[in-house]
């Protein structure tokens, strides 16, 4: 086991900068998600760490040892591919045995290790099958067993659950997390699924256009995004744009929004406020008054989407549509077209510098 350090790594393909001075520390034993839209460079970064491709500049270290010019087969990593990449000509057991057998381990050791790895992923009885006889979830488990049986220093996963259907994906998320805890391996996985990143990882790195936008624990990124992009890419957010006042922003129509978290932006500069939809209280205005200092706006419900345990209201206000999510507590539901009052605490408002 080992941590991974990526320092000032850049990689270009022709004129396209796939990675632009990315630095990120993956601590030993952690579970990291690299999150970003397609083309953000997350897979390129994973391939640099794996050693399929070498950076133009920068340093990559695994367990303190510089590896940026070490080919993949010498890096002692385990990798799970998006399409599993199981060898179709080999049985499940031979697939798992591959890494040990190219190393020249004795046959008896290989057989024992393979069985242990297959037991770990709960496929102990399927060693004799061929990959095409397995379901998607089973193939995923074989790919995982194959990647960890060689006791790699770090486990890399490239959109490992992307090809599975929703229910199976949730099962595999839990399973993957269990196995990762059990063997305590540093794990880096690439995903474009924000929910997967939030539920599985200890830390998330958000990438965009080859740059690291923000990095930290899921709660921190969700509660204190440092940019509009981070706020809207990880979860939903209502964005207000205006001029910084020192304690919030002033919208073009003169309304002020107070923010008590986030960056400090000098008064007068362009700035934005991000508010999560579930932090906003929606009412007809007749109910008990909000505590003093709360942000307050009026608008009109344009649409309501009922989703069982919650409802999403789209509220039109001054040319902007705001999103509010309300838990289903049995309270009266608001009709479309109804004028409403929105209110939320400055504590729920994150100030970010304008993009």
């Amino acid at each position: 086991m080992a941590g991974v350090q990526v320092a000032n790594v850049s990689r270009s393909f022709g004129a396209h900068k796939a990675l632009d001075n990315v630095s990120i520390d993956f601590a030993d034993g952690g579970f990291y998600a690299l999150l970003g839209p397609s083309g953000s460079g997350k897979t390129t970064l994973l391939r640099q760490i794996a050693g399929f491709d070498f950076p133009d500049a920068g340093r990559i270290a695994i367990g303190g040892e510089s590896v940026e010019r070490v080919p993949v087969e010498k890096r002692r990593i385990g990798m799970v591919f998006q399409n599993y990449a199981l060898f179709p000509n080999m049985s499940v057991a031979d697939n798992v045995a591959f890494g040990l057998s190219v190393r020249g381990e004795p046959k008896a050791t290989i057989a024992a290790e393979v069985q242990r790895a297959l037991d770990l992923v709960q496929l102990g009885k399927l060693g004799g099958r061929k990959p095409h006889q397995l379901s998607g979830g089973q193939r995923q488990r074989v790919a995982l067993a194959r990647a960890i049986v060689t006791k790699p220093r770090v486990l890399l996963l490239d959109e490992p659950l992307g090809a599975l259907d929703k229910a199976l994906r949730v099962d595999m998320q839990i399973e993957l997390k269990r196995i990762q805890r059990e063997i305590g391996i540093t794990t880096i996985f690439v995903t474009h699924d924000q929910e997967e990143a939030l539920t599985m990882s200890d830390r998330i790195g958000i990438l965009r256009d080859g740059r690291l936008v923000q990095e930290g624990p899921p709660e921190e990124i969700y509660d204190r995004p440092q940019s509009e992009f981070a706020a809207t890419f990880l979860g939903d957010a209502n964005i207000f744009r205006g001029d910084a006042t020192g304690s919030g922003i002033k919208l073009p129509d003169g309304t002020t929004i107070a923010a008590s978290t986030g960056a400090s932006v000098p008064a007068g500069a362009k700035a934005s406020c991000a508010v999560r939809p579930e932090r906003i209280r929606i009412s007809t205005g007749a109910a008990e008054p909000d505590p003093a200092g709360a942000n307050m706006l009026t608008g009109q419900v344009s649409k309501r989407i009922f989703a069982g345990n919650n409802s999403t209201y789209f509220v039109d206000r001054d040319g902007q549509t705001l999103k509010v999510i309300v838990q289903n507590t049995g309270a009266e539901r608001l009709a479309e077209g109804e004028p409403v009052v929105l209110s939320w605490s400055p504590d729920s408002t994150v100030l970010v510098a304008a993009a």
């Binding site: 794996a50 399929f52 080919p71 993949v72 087969e73 010498k74 002692r76 990593i77 385990g78 990798m79 591919f81 998006q82 399409n83 990449a85 199981l86 060898f87 179709p88 000509n89 591959f98 890494g99 190219v102 190393r103 194959r146 990647a147 060689t150 890399l156």
Partner: protein, 289 residues
């Protein structure tokens, strides 16, 4: 899923008949009928031309077994087929690999064209151009002597290597094409997966790429081995006196000696031997594929 497929194919047979018939009619007329006639000939004492007397006989087949010359030549031809096939693998497989896995876009198209080019030229022209290259005072001889500081004599013409060179040149595109198709179907991530598990490029080649491209190697080998064993043009023109093989003897029977029944019998013995070899190899090949 499998059931659906089976139902689909059963339902598909009847509407498919109009599509299948032309090909099968053509095969019947063009191959089956003449071949049947040849089978008939091979059991005759003489051709029934110009009112000549003829009778049924097994003598043509017996000739193969009574004269060791034929079996010796058959073995020589089988060896020739094996050698040419091996050379085609040695030369064709790496080329197919580069085409399928290394080159992309325009350069792939250009190189591909070069591979197929021999198909576009007439076989005889191809062989005679080799004759010009290989003979003493020919292109190869002159070129080497122009470059090398010492005098060497290269006269490959009318030799066994010349036959091999000509045949490999004619047949290597088959190997490149069949291997290219299977190699191209191998997902690059399999190669990456192998390397991520600690396998060197060579180990990935032997344990992943070659086993997965075995169907292409086998198809290519079959496409090359069978016609080379019966080949007569290259051995005759490039081999001269050393170029007597089973195929040239068969050709002689038809063209020179005018003993069609013996020629036909020798052809069917060759066919039988090739079929036996393929049948014996089938279980091994199937496991490899």
């Amino acid at each position: 899923m499998a059931d659906q497929l089976a139902i689909g194919s059963r339902r598909g047979l009847k509407p498919a008949l109009p599509l299948l018939l032309p090909a099968y009619l053509w095969l019947t007329v063009a191959i089956f009928l003449p071949l049947s006639a040849m089978v008939f000939f091979s059991f005759m004492t003489d051709l029934p031309l110009a009112g000549k007397e003829w009778a049924f006989t097994l003598g043509n087949y017996a000739a193969f077994f009574s004269q060791s010359l034929y079996s010796t030549l058959l073995f020589a031809s089988l060896r020739l087929g094996l050698e040419v096939t091996l050379w085609c693998i040695v030369i064709g497989y790496p080329a197919a690999y580069v085409l399928a896995k290394v080159l992309k876009g325009r350069s792939r198209e250009a190189i591909f064209l070069l591979v197929i080019l021999p198909f576009w030229s007439n076989g005889l022209v191809r062989i005679f151009s080799w004759a010009m290259v290989l003979r003493e005072g020919g292109i190869l001889d002159t070129a080497l002597n122009a470059v090398l500081p010492f005098k060497i004599n290269i006269d490959l013409m009318y030799s066994y290597p010349a036959v091999i060179i000509g045949l490999v040149h004619s047949y290597v595109p088959y190997m490149v094409l069949t291997c290219y198709l299977t190699l191209q179907a191998i997902d690059d991530s399999l190669i990456e997966a192998g390397r991520s598990l600690g396998a060197s490029r060579r180990q990935v080649l032997w344990r992943v790429i070659i086993p997965l491209s075995m169907p292409g190697l086998i198809a290519g080998a079959a496409l090359i081995f069978v016609p080379v064993v019966g080949s007569f043009m290259e051995p005759r023109i490039l081999g001269g006196r050393t170029g007597t093989f089973y195929g040239t003897v068969i050709e002689d029977q038809f063209v020179a000696v005018f003993n069609w029944p013996l020629g036909a019998a020798l052809s069917f013995i060759l066919l039988a031997v090739v079929l036996i070899i393929l049948a014996l190899a089938a279980p091994v090949l199937r496991r490899a594929a």
